[in-house]
Symmetry: C2
Subunit: 424 residues, 2 copies
């Protein structure tokens, strides 16, 4: 007999955006039933006592404006029925699954997406009892550990992404890293498309890069952090992490949406360096209004599983996401919640000096990693000038100076503003 756990009576509260052509109470009940004790017919053994202990319960329904364009195929639609929409909060007894991220996911993110009673279903947020943070260690380095390793204070960490993403020969990569390190860059990361290709295998990439980083550190006194993309099979990730650490590397990157949160948690158990969590593929879950998962819910699970750096996209990004979403994502990553420490938000995608004033004004924090790939590497005077332009733009934002004004004193910034015109 197992002792009753202290969390026996706790609940997880999941908040959803739901739409339905059925009465919302029925639609919400279908979700709560499917995800706990019920099935499509009454079965022997689904007693009142069992339901009392194990049924998920709808604990809040707040009507919101219906969105016809977010209706999913296959939704039940009784004749003449109107679409209704609500934010619905469902409480799941923790005793059904315990403080396990995968088993939690089966409950709050499982079959419910397939319910025909629901015309839209998106997980918006999760309130987790303390048992999760007690079981999962959370970020090992987070903001303070990453600042310590890079020796950056009172400003964001600035970095770049190796571009072209793929196909770069070893000599060119070495030269690029050398240039960036000597220019004083804080962070360089692999593109998420860079894995273990024959033209530059992972192990060789690590050797080539770390040679330059160690040599640069001798000159500059600072170790540039390089986020090596170790995304791969579980055993490969383990081996690649060891290889990075053996060569003195200080960061590994994984595409969390591809490898899965259990793989992230497994890596966290062994990792000696910060885990940089890229969000490739998560767009499939977060972009639709009608189905999927809001990023603020997902990032909480990612932090729980040990992500130190979490990609949030950036203000003025090249992708679909409006700045308001990015601001919300960044704040979520930086907010301690449910006993889980913050991670360092990584602002990436189409970042150039032009994005800095809004980034500073809307986020109001220095606890950011800002990655500009093309925004640094495509600077007309070279990558070092590209980095200086980013610093200039941030410094201007900190002092309330306009970019135009600052560009009068900074040729690098002026060139960047010309090169990266447009709406960024």
């Amino acid at each position: 007999m197992t002792a009753t756990p202290v969390w026996e009576d706790e609940t997880v509260v999941a908040e959803y955006f739901l739409q339905s052509y059925l009465p919302m109470a029925d639609a919400a009940a279908a979700l709560a039933g499917e995800q706990s004790t019920a099935t499509f017919v009454a079965v022997p053994g689904e007693t009142q006592a069992l339901r009392d202990r194990h049924a998920a319960r709808v604990v809040g329904v707040e009507a919101v404006e219906p969105q016809e364009d977010a209706v999913l195929r296959g939704s039940l639609r009784p004749e003449q029925a109107a679409l209704s929409a609500a934010r619905v909060r469902v409480a799941f007894p923790l005793r059904n699954f315990g403080p396990s991220v995968p088993n939690l996911m089966a409950a709050v993110l499982g079959n419910l997406f397939e319910l025909r009673e629901l015309a839209s279903v998106k997980l918006l947020d999760l309130d987790l009892p303390a048992a999760f943070a007690e079981r999962y260690p959370g970020p090992q380095f987070g903001v303070p550990g990453t600042r310590r390793l890079t020796d950056v204070r009172e400003r964001p960490l600035f970095g770049t992404i190796v571009k072209p993403s793929i196909g770069m020969p070893a000599e060119r990569l070495a030269a690029l890293v050398r240039e960036l390190v000597h220019a004083g860059i804080d962070v360089i990361k692999d593109d998420e498309l860079q894995g273990d290709p024959p033209h530059l295998p992972f192990d060789e990439r690590v050797r080539v890069v770390m040679r330059e980083i160690h040599a640069g550190a001798q000159a500059t006194g600072r170790m540039t952090m390089y986020a090596f993309n170790i995304t791969g099979e579980i055993d490969e990730m383990r081996r690649r992490h060891e290889h990075v650490v053996a060569h003195g590397g200080t960061c590994v990157m994984v595409c969390m949406g591809i490898v899965g949160l259990p793989a992230l948690a497994e890596l966290r158990r062994e990792s000696a360096v910060p885990i940089h969590a890229h969000r490739a593929m998560l767009g499939a879950l977060i972009r639709s209004v009608g189905i999927g998962i809001e990023f603020r819910a997902y990032q909480k699970l990612a932090r729980l599983c040990g992500a130190d750096h979490v990609h949030t996209s950036g203000l003025g990004n090249k992708f679909y996401e409006p700045d308001s979403d990015v601001v919300r994502s960044v704040r979520a990553v930086l907010t301690p919640s449910d006993g889980i420490s913050p991670a360092l938000p990584v602002l990436s995608s189409g970042q150039t000096p032009r994005a800095m004033p809004a980034t500073h004004a809307r986020l109001g924090t220095d606890d950011l990693m800002i990655l500009a790939g093309g925004g640094i590497l495509a600077h007309p005077h070279g990558a070092a000038a590209g980095l200086r332009a980013m610093h200039e733009a941030w410094a201007a934002a900190q002092t309330g100076e306009s970019l135009g004004e600052r560009a009068g004193r900074s040729a690098d910034l002026a060139a960047a503003l010309t090169a990266f015109g447009g709406d960024a």
Copy 2:
């Protein structure tokens, strides 16, 4: 220097449903660029030689009817621009990522979902070069191995899902398994919500269930297959698999969409029994017309990573999916492709005897696992009668007899048809 791999010049062809308010050629080029050599500005080093070797290429565009209701938020929409839709085939050089499922996913399923140039983006199918099937072992048991273990020939495997999903005490579970085993059931599976809860911890569940199964096998001469849901953290899955095998169990189940394909591949490396792959959470990727992944593409990767049984939903299911989708999914799972062996399709969700004639007629094969949870357990004469009713319904379908006619000779079937009325 690594030797040039034999697959150096191969490509992966990914087929997408795309919509855009830009000219389709531009939209498709944005996808191909983002997912290979390009970024939002030209960068030094993106030479013609590099593009020639590494750029993804649009190799087919077939216009289809636009679907306004599948448009995603944040899509670029020049004034007056009309929506166009196409099936677009993109060829990705294998040399960019090699035969690695996670690195392939970063290319064909990565940032592209976030592209504002695309108003819809769904992966429909994948053509994989032989290098994948050469590296990944695929299903270890598949259809023949599962038939061998269960001793079932010339008919589908019939099974049930333990319901209520959660909260059932050990004694009741033991009694239920005993009844089902003696009734001659082929397969029993945990509900996907069943993990390692305090009221019946995983290890105890295995002991309780396997005691009944071994005792039943003494009486019936056949081992019922029980798919234990081992979904959890990586180390837990490994340990739970060992525990199942140590107790003589013959199947483990994982929620593949939750644990991730690398975790599935890792399990496959060590597994001594068939892996039953549940699709909880995959609805978030497959239901929307405008974003995500078609199941036929996903199941190919799942088979590659070692899934022996793949959930496809069932005809007349309780969820959103039309039978036509289910038929396509089942056929995909059963079709050898790209050197990957078939898996056994698992038809589940709202299955009752009523679904058997259409299942037989439309699928035309016995190579199925048909799981009825409520459809067996809620039979008014008990689970054994529920199982007999399923067999009767299949036998009727095989001989072209109607269910009504057969029910005249089978009280169990007659009772099932009455109990499970409706449109199933």
